[in-house]
């Protein structure tokens, strides 16, 4: 147990550093960079035109479809991670069984993929 914690202590240090360093740098930058008072500099850039409407609109559902398909497949991939380290386990029977199970699993995954493909969920709509 302590081994795992030991390996993640540096991660924690890096995490803290990763948040502190940019913030500290930005504080320094704020001190040394010039300020101008022009108001229009604060408007969003839109090729020199005045922006029309809000950028945060109801966006095309297409992007969400990709996300949903992704969630399904990525979770399935996650299930495979523990399997890879143990499937050559103790004896031949165990190995055979685990391989058969995983082949079935991947097949189901693949059928799901084919379904999504047929349904056009992965098709970029025009």
């Amino acid at each position: 147990m302590s081994g795992i914690i030991d390996s993640f202590i540096p991660v924690a240090i890096f995490l803290v550093f990763g948040f502190v360093m940019p913030v500290a740098t930005m504080i320094i930058v704020k001190q040394i960079s010039p300020r101008s008072q022009a108001g229009r500099k604060l408007s969003t850039y839109e090729s020199g035109s005045v922006p029309f409407g809000d950028a945060r609109i109801m966006f095309n559902v297409q992007y969400y479809l990709f996300a949903i398909v992704f969630v399904i497949f990525d979770v399935e991939v996650m299930f495979l991670y523990p399997w890879v380290t143990v499937y050559l386990g103790v004896d031949k029977f165990f190995t055979t069984m685990s391989v058969i199970e995983v082949v079935l699993f991947v097949l189901v995954l693949f059928v799901g993929y084919l379904y999504a493909l047929k349904k056009g969920a992965l098709q970029w709509v025009k």
Binding site: G18, V29, V84, T85, L88
Partner: protein, 343 residues
């Protein structure tokens, strides 16, 4: 000699190793600077122009220093209707994600008085999974940047980023998985030592290497896949509204990701820090092997950037879902079969 021994012992303590490991941040920052310089120079060569040649002598060695000074002294502008915390958070999260990736990457081994010491900030038994997980955080970082800016170009870029990255995370994960199947471990150190026993995994599963390489390029957003920053379409994509060092962080995060990505390619497929077998008698320290291979991978990335036009976003998602995903599944089955035969 005892001092060195003592130093190694001290580095066994995770706290000390973590703090000392911050040097790695400096090192990869420096290598990012080198990579930017290399990219400009090498791209210049490809495009028959000199590249940077004004600051720092004929080779423009100090160009990046000049750029950094410029970024530091530029005004930091946040658009008035931006979501300020999200806008500020984007580059920071991207940078942090790059740092967290760098933690788990081992850079080689050092032999000292008969025993071998690993050059890595931390070792963990699931480092492959861990690196992939923290790498995926950068998707959120880019989306934060795009959404927070309240700029239409940025938002389009952010959505493109999501659509693209999602398509490539799965093949990328499956490619890492195939390596793990062969190595019987998710630990980078184990993966490298397994390659020393067998052969480099690029020879064992070339398909996996191709899938991983393409997916990695897409994840990094380098040129055939740089739709989120496609200049002629979206100005600077998600980073349109960034200026000063805020933009600098985003820029650096991109290059840090590229370097760590190159390290991953080397560790997973090119045998890590192990030398070429037929050069066995030639003594080159493992770290140099590692650095050399990373260098080669980076040069190939730059070369690809010089040689290819940009792919359209729908073609990108098509490639991810309809080509790479089935191939990565095939490769997984292949890898599992080979692993069973080998063991």
């Amino acid at each position: 000699m005892d001092y060195i021994q003592l130093a190694f012992d001290l580095l066994g303590n995770p706290w000390i190793r973590g703090v000392v490991g911050l040097i790695v941040v400096g090192v990869i920052f420096f290598s990012a600077i080198v990579m930017v310089w290399l990219e400009r120079k090498f791209l210049g060569d490809i495009q028959t122009r000199p590249g940077p040649n004004r600051v720092g002598g004929r080779f423009g060695l100090l160009q990046l220093v000049a750029d950094a000074i410029k970024l530091f002294t530029k005004e930091d502008i946040v658009p008035e209707n931006a979501d300020k915390p999200v806008h500020a958070g984007g580059p920071i999260v991207a940078l942090t994600s790059a740092f967290l990736m760098a933690v788990a990457v081992p850079y080689g081994v050092v032999s000292f008085e008969g025993s071998e010491y690993l050059l890595a900030v931390t070792t963990m038994d699931i480092s492959a999974l861990y690196v992939e997980a923290v790498a995926a955080v950068s998707i959120i970082a880019l989306f934060m940047a795009g959404w927070g800016s309240n700029n239409k170009y940025s938002l389009l870029g952010a959505f493109r980023n999501i659509a693209r990255m999602l398509g490539y995370e799965v093949p990328l994960g499956l490619a890492v998985l195939s390596v793990a199947v062969m190595a019987q471990s998710l630990d980078f150190v184990q993966i490298v030592s397994r390659q020393e026993q067998l052969a480099w995994f690029i020879f064992m599963q070339p398909l996996g290497f191709i899938v991983f390489g393409v997916a990695l390029l897409a994840d990094l957003g380098r040129i055939p896949f740089d739709q989120i920053e496609a200049e002629e379409e979206l100005i600077a994509g998600v980073f349109t509204e960034y200026s000063s060092m805020r933009w600098g962080f985003a820029f650096f995060a991109e290059y840090l990701h590229a370097i760590v990505g190159a390290c991953l390619v080397v560790i997973l497929f090119l045998g890590g820090w192990s030398g070429l077998p037929f050069l066995g008698t030639l003594f080159i320290p493992p770290v140099l092997w590692f650095v050399g291979k990373v260098f080669v991978v980076i040069m190939v990335m730059i070369w690809i950037r010089g040689a290819l036009p940009r792919v359209r976003i729908d073609q990108v998602t098509d490639l991810g879902w309809k080509v790479l995903f089935p191939y990565s599944l095939i490769n997984l089955v292949w890898a599992a079969a080979v692993a069973m035969v080998v063991s």
